[in-house]
């Protein structure tokens, strides 16, 4: 197989995809019962399922599984009493219930296997999946099994739970359902009051109708009580708060309308003047609450509020004086403790390296994608991830005092972005309320002279009919609908106010690593003496055996060669690979490892090659930029100021200047605080900043900016606290999302015009003193429904117009 055509490759792919996880098996295929597996891990999972009659797992969905990870010793901390206490949601002598977050949950097979856990461990009484939240709630007999066994079982079948410091907080999560209750109250009242007020709409002077009028009216009054005093409560509170801080927000005319409706209706039925407007009152509150409900689009599987706690482990291994390993809760780490950090584990506190080869990936903290080698005695910062082997370190600080976590003590993380931002509805509301009060005053004065008995009637009628229900609904329905459309296109926005702020942006700031570059460094250029064919073959084959990310990348770039058996292969962790085949003795790795004579310091990542102790040359890796970066920047440059704010060094400056429009500012070597300060400075100059970042190092900047968008390769994996999460595959669509937000503002303005039109019709009836309950009862729902229809159609059309090829895949 020296040369494979595209078609052949595809056939090969289909035949060689792992039965369990669906990955390409490559060259090392493991067969078992006529099924193909990519690794022993996958095969083991299949064996477990096969023994327990659970192979139905594979019938529901093709290749649903995940490769089980090595977890030896990782969950030892779960046998600690205080940790079990915090993680479980219920504990008795015999039963424990725990809810675990499992990022891999993605299909019906996952639900099926996780709800059949008792087949794998009979001491598990029950397990229930919440697909939206990606959690499984496990009930087990704590006398026969324990939390550690449950977690180990889940990990063994490829469903490793994600347990972080975030789970270690006391207090149960409280689900707020008040809006649903209020909506229920309003819907109940609205339906029944409509039903009761129907006979009076026709004013039939029938004997029995006259007789029972008071009964019907008092029933309506009773039903309106919970609506006014419970369901509408938020509007009164918000109006009061607004008035207190001298802001005429939209809730002021609403609260005014509601109180006038209720008081006038009550007076009418007490003095038997008329039937009141209880139907309109209930309808108004109901529609307003529907709007509020619709605007609340929540993505249960996403969290927009993450801080370092979501990344940090709960416990870490501590070595005591007698060199015994104990797991210790991260908050309990004290200065001077000796800690053991395994491969792929996060360093939880600042400390000093005692022994072991440290190769730390600080991409969380600094955005720098290259790993940093540390020698014994060097300082290690919290947030780094150890990437080669086991190290021992001594803690210098506690968790909260560490360098990374101190970023979170900055005030921006306690600031509510919605404060100090006047949304479009409230901007209009100010003028609306003043105009409304003027009209009411003029009309009342007029009637005082013409027919003073009608004056009070007209005054209240104006306030009732002009109650800005339709205006208040425009924004929730437009933004609510847009939130859903964005969600389908994998742009997950936290709430409606974010869309509004996005429309007002004038500066766009990008992080570099992980944001405009993809995580894989997939471009490498060779520089040095030409390699012979056999050398190339040995190189490719030795890379195949290595699991180092750079080897993996280089392996996929190099052209295919015959598979040869290496005579000797040795991987020196943190340094490189040594391979021997016939006469060729090859060394691949760092400059010092291969013996590069002139190891000049270059900024880019390099892999050096030597053959039979003769230095050959080096592969230099370049960042690979996301598809469409250049196009996106060119689209954006017309309307926005563009900045690249990178934590990385200047190694990529030349590439970036070639790729991006000339006016893009490039700023390198930015620490997390520098990024935050940079944005703060520009905001003080009046800029509205959109920050786009990916890592924890951008957390401060994302929080400080007007809108912070986190780019995520896999939305189930964790991204820092932000206002919106954008799937990396949709990065090039960013311009369209901003434009759609701007269009949404236009739609809202148009629907304001539409609702004003209804208000003018209503005001005509009110001012002339002929407002009948039936007119109000028709006009109110009609205006609300037409606004809902208009905004829905309009938002759908803007999103469709700009993307003819939107795929609505769930």
């Amino acid at each position: 197989m020296t040369f494979v055509t595209g078609i052949n490759e595809q056939i090969k792919m289909e035949n060689n995809t792992c039965y369990h996880c669906g990955d390409d098996c490559g060259n090392h295929i493991i067969s078992f019962r006529e099924k193909v597996f990519c690794c022993n891990g996958c095969k083991t999972v299949f064996e477990i399922f096969n023994e327990n009659d659970l192979t139905c797992y594979y019938d529901l969905q093709n290749s649903p599984g995940a490769i089980p990870k090595e977890i030896e010793g990782k969950y030892d901390f779960l046998s600690q009493e205080n940790i079990i206490e915090k993680l479980t949601e219920f504990r008795s002598d015999t039963i424990e219930i725990v809810t675990l977050h499992i990022p891999h949950i993605h299909c019906s097979s996952c639900i099926w296997i996780l709800e059949n856990l008792n087949k794998l461990n009979s001491d598990i009484a029950d397990s229930q999946v919440n697909f939206g939240k990606k959690t499984v709630r496990v009930t087990y007999h704590s006398t026969k099994t324990n939390l550690k066994a449950v977690v180990t079982l889940l990990s063994a079948i490829g469903y490793e739970p994600y347990i972080s410091l975030d789970d270690f907080k006391s207090g149960k999560k409280y689900i707020n359902r008040t809006l649903i209750y209020k909506l229920g109250v309003a819907a109940f009242g609205f339906g029944n009051i409509m039903f009761l007020s129907f006979p009076e709409y026709f004013e039939v002077d029938e004997f029995w109708l006259e007789q029972y009028k008071p009964l019907f009216r008092w029933l309506m009054f009773t039903m309106s009580l919970p609506i006014v005093f419970y369901a509408a409560q938020d509007y009164f509170i918000s109006a009061y708060k607004g008035l207190k801080s001298k802001i005429l927000n939209i809730d002021v005319p609403i609260a005014l309308g509601v109180s006038v409706l209720f008081i006038r209706s009550t007076i009418e039925i007490i003095f038997n003047i008329g039937s009141g407007f209880f139907d309109s009152l209930a309808g108004l509150i109901f529609f307003l609450l529907v709007g509020k409900f619709f605007q609340q689009k929540t993505y249960e599987f996403l969290s927009f509020e993450r801080d370092y706690k979501s990344y940090f482990p709960i416990a870490i291994n501590k070595i005591d004086k007698n060199s015994n390993e104990n797991s210790v809760q991260v908050y309990d780490i004290e200065k001077g403790d000796r800690l053991l950090i395994r491969n792929e584990e996060l360093i939880p506190v600042d400390g000093i390296l005692i022994n072991g080869k440290a190769k730390i990936d600080y991409s969380f903290v600094t955005g720098e994608s290259q790993t940093v080698s540390k020698q014994s005695g060097d300082k290690l910062f919290a947030g780094g991830k150890q990437t080669s082997g086991v190290i021992e370190m001594e803690a210098l600080k506690s968790v909260e005092q560490s360098y990374l976590t101190q970023l979170w003590s900055n005030d921006v993380f306690n600031k509510n972005k919605e404060e100090g931002f006047t949304n479009i509805t409230n901007t209009v509301s100010k003028h609306f309320t003043i105009t409304l009060l003027i009209i009411a005053a003029i009309a009342t004065t007029f009637w005082l002279f013409v027919d003073s008995s009608k004056a009070m009637n007209v005054f209240t009628a104006v306030l009732i009919i002009a109650c800005p229900c339709a205006i208040a609904l425009s924004a929730p329905f437009t933004f609510g609908n847009l939130l859903r459309i964005f969600g389908k296109e994998k742009f997950y926005v936290k709430n409606a106010s974010v869309i509004e702020q996005l429309a007002a942006i004038d500066t766009v700031i990008f992080d570099k690593t992980g944001t405009i570059t993809s995580h894989k460094q997939s471009n490498a250029a060779y520089d040095g003496a030409e390699l012979s064919t056999t050398e190339k073959s040995v190189l490719k084959n030795s890379l195949r055996g290595s699991n180092h990310p750079l080897s993996r990348t280089l392996y996929s770039i190099l052209e295919a060669h015959n598979i040869i058996t290496l005579d000797a292969f040795k991987e020196h962790i943190g340094q490189g690979i040594e391979a021997k085949h016939e006469a060729i003795n090859m060394k691949i790795g760092s400059a010092s490892f291969v013996g590069n004579p002139n190891a000049n310091t270059v900024l880019n990542t390099t892999v050096h090659v030597s053959s039979n102790t003769i230095y050959k040359g080096k592969f230099t890796f370049y960042n690979s930029y996301r598809k469409g970066v250049s196009k996106l920047f060119n689209q954006l440059k017309q309307q926005f100021d563009l900045v690249i704010l990178s934590g990385d060094n200047e190694g990529e400056r030349d590439n970036l200047t070639k790729l991006l429009p000339a006016k893009t500012k490039l700023i390198f070597n930015q620490k997390p605080e520098d990024k935050l300060e940079f944005i703060k400075y520009h905001q003080s100059e009046g800029a509205k900043v959109l920050m786009i970042g990916d890592g924890l190092n951008d957390a401060g900047a994302l929080a400080q900016s007007n809108v912070g968008i986190a780019i995520s390769e896999d939305v189930n994996v964790f991204s820092p606290a932000c206002d919106a999460i954008l799937d990396a595959s949709k990065f090039k669509e960013l311009y369209r999302f901003i434009m759609a937000s701007k269009a949404a503002i236009k739609i809202i303005k148009w629907s304001f015009v539409l609702s004003l039109f209804y208000n003018i019709i209503g005001l005509y009836f009110a001012v002339t003193g002929q407002l009948e309950p039936v007119v109000a009862a028709i006009l109110m729902p009609l205006s609300s429904i037409s606004i809902v229809v208009f905004t829905t159609i309009a938002t759908n059309s803007i999103s469709l117009k700009k993307s003819p090829s939107v795929s609505y895949k769930k």
Binding site: C56, D59, N116, F131, F188, Q211
Partner: protein, 61 residues
């Protein structure tokens, strides 16, 4: 004529009953997860089928 009282009270009682049911159901958390149950209800049969299938398979193996 007093049939109207009966009708009214019936309609109100029916309305209130459903309203209380709604509140109870929301409170119990039934609406918190609106996706998983739709998948779960399709499982029961498959499990039975699979059990017989695999037992046959293991015999022939």
């Amino acid at each position: 004529m007093s049939v109207i009282y009966i009708l009214l009270s019936v309609s109100v009682v029916v309305g209130v009953t459903f309203f209380i049911l709604f509140i109870m159901v929301v409170r119990s958390g039934q609406y918190d997860d609106d996706y998983t149950p739709s998948v779960r209800m399709l499982f029961e049969d498959e499990l039975v089928k699979e059990q017989t299938d695999t037992s046959k398979q293991t015999k022939t193996d």
